[in-house]
């Protein structure tokens, strides 16, 4: 294989890592609070806001139901507004973030669901404020579940980022499609898939290790 080809593969790998890391980080920063909000505003919960909760839930579901490839194209004007361009790696990150936020939010909500309600009650009996319940009880107790959810999100982002080529985003998936599929170069296809497999395995075992460290169950 030519050194130009190797360089192409390396560049694509870095592009993928860049897209996954940045979109993963931003969607976590927004998605975790959103997931907490979805949980604490439920009827009967510590900050019950049933109407707002429903609206939030519907919006989250809409975000999750739009196929990524359609989302990517549909929000092009917004992407251009945010990053100044509708093509390139950065332009691919915007839809990745938009797609991942509701995903993270639901996974976080699910992780919070696993907390025995008695813990919240015990904290209330101690005179905890809602904010204290979130920071001292909910988030620490759900830490393992949240890390698990973020791991799933990152792995999903790896596969979503393969579609980034549609807006000229680059990355391994794009390389695999253009060279491996369109030009029918099986070796390139094989290499990109192999790197993606290694990447996913790596993220998963890193996530698993962090979950084990966080969980004292």
């Amino acid at each position: 294989m030519s050194s130009a080809m190797l360089e192409l593969i390396l560049e694509a790998t870095l592009d993928t890592l860049y897209m996954v890391a940045l979109s993963g980080a931003v969607s976590a920063v927004i998605g975790i609070p959103l997931g907490v909000l979805l949980y604490v505003t439920r009827p009967g919960q510590i900050l019950a806001q049933p109407v707002a909760q429903r609206v939030l839930g519907i919006v989250t579901n809409i975000g999750r139901s739009i196929p990524f490839i359609i989302l990517m194209v549909a929000i092009i004007p917004f992407t251009r507004l945010v990053v100044g361009s509708s093509i390139g790696t950065n332009a691919a990150i915007v839809p990745l973030i938009i797609a991942a936020i509701p995903f993270v939010a639901r996974l976080v909500e699910g992780a919070l669901n696993e907390i025995p309600p008695g813990l919240i009650e015990a904290a209330q009996a101690m005179g905890a404020t809602p904010v204290q319940i979130i920071t001292k009880v909910l988030l620490p107790e759900a830490k393992g579940g949240i890390i698990n959810g973020l791991t799933i999100t990152v792995v999903t982002l790896v596969s979503y980022s393969a579609m980034a080529g549609a807006v000229g985003g680059g990355g391994l998936g794009d390389l695999g499609i253009r060279y491996g599929y369109n030009r029918f170069e099986p070796l390139i296809m094989l290499i990109t898939v192999a790197i993606l497999v290694v990447m996913v395995q790596g993220f998963q075992s890193l996530g698993d290790r962090l979950v084990r460290k966080a969980d004292h169950k």
Binding site: L119, E121, A122, A123, M126, G127, A128, E141, K217
Partner: protein
């Protein structure tokens, strides 16, 4: 210390409304251990959760240490809750925190400094026998140890009242005994007022001073524990007691019991002696004085908080005149007599 005035709690409205508590009055003086016993679904859990307003009563007042909690805004209520420690059937410890950090939690919530937290948590671990477990996580502890952590945690804010919601129901009998001992110890050492709810007579017998019996959302009976175990005033009270003492007449006899006396029947009675009567040879005296024969079907002696209690199920065999005379004689000796029924004397 704890006063409930006309507390009611209704879930839902209209014809499907559930009246979990109906006009409950309760007064627990400072330093007392007060038990509320009842079957599951009777409302005891709702009752104890109304005391710290985890459940807000539909009507009525909850007064703790002179403060009406039902009138307080949420900030004042949070402050008041520091005066009310609570422990739970399933411990409710934070799995993500060590024993030390679990006990420290209420202090963190109150904004106590790190140094002071250390100073206050260590004696509590000592009191509850957990010093060597300080750095362990709840998952590494047994049920009894978990409840000890929960007790230490409940005491961290130096409350005046401890609420125990079925605190020993998930524990085996030996562990239950050690937790009850700890609660009694805390009550004596710290003068802490304890309100506990339970379905176990053993808990009431071991540590309570007074006991209330709750049924279908109503407090149907309230008495000093010694009196309750001698002579419960209600049928439900007697059922609890008999089940606890395993003092039921033999099944074969129950089937033959008739409610009204007949021509050739003998009364079957349940006798409860307390105090000096236990040591007096009343039965043989009764046989001599009244001329009835006493057939003892079951008997046992229980010690309830230093008071000795004798219980007996017996058949009084004699003529209607002599048996009724015997009953009068028993009652005059301050023995609690309950006629369970009458049996035909076969042959």
């Amino acid at each position: 210390m704890i006063k409930l005035e006309g507390v009611s709690k209704t879930y839902g409205a209209g014809p499907t409304a559930v009246h979990a508590l109906k006009n409950i009055d309760l007064d627990v003086p400072q330093g007392a251990i007060h038990g509320v016993i009842g079957l599951s679904g009777a409302g005891k859990s709702t009752l104890i959760r109304c005391v710290n307003l985890l459940e807000r009563p539909t009507s009525g007042h909850v007064i703790v240490d002179g403060q009406d909690l039902t009138q307080q805004d949420s900030e004042a209520l949070r402050q008041s809750r520091h005066q009310l420690g609570m422990i739970f059937q399933h411990f409710n410890l934070l799995a993500s925190r060590t024993v030390f950090d679990n006990v420290a939690l209420p202090l963190e919530l109150m904004g106590v400094s790190k140094g002071e937290i250390r100073e206050r948590v260590e004696p509590l671990l000592d009191l509850t026998g957990l010093t060597d477990k300080a750095t362990q996580y709840p998952a590494q502890l047994s049920g009894g140890q978990k409840q000890r952590v929960a007790i230490a945690r409940a005491l961290a804010s130096r409350p005046k009242v401890l609420l125990c919601d079925e605190a020993t129901s998930a524990l085996d009998p030996q562990t239950t005994a050690s937790i009850l001992e700890l609660l009694q110890d805390i009550n004596r050492k710290l003068g802490l007022t304890i309100l506990l709810i339970t379905h176990e007579m053993e808990v009431v017998k071991s540590i309570c001073h007074r006991v209330g019996l709750i049924s279908d959302g109503e407090l149907v009976e309230e008495a000093d524990v010694g009196d309750f175990f001698t002579a419960p005033a209600t049928r439900l009270g007697r059922e609890f007691l008999n089940a606890f003492l395993e003092l039921e007449p033999p099944q074969a006899l129950v089937e033959r019991l008739e409610e009204t006396p007949g021509e050739h029947t003998h009364p079957v009675v349940r006798l409860a002696f307390s105090g000096a009567n236990v040591a007096t040879p009343l039965i043989s005296r009764l046989a001599r004085d009244s001329g009835v024969d006493v057939s003892i079907l079951q008997a046992k002696v229980e010690s309830i908080q230093g008071r000795t209690l004798g219980l007996m199920i017996a058949e009084l065999i004699g003529t209607p005149e002599t048996t009724s005379q015997a009953l009068t004689q028993l009652e005059s000796h301050d023995i609690n007599v309950e006629v369970l029924g009458h049996v035909q004397r076969d042959a």
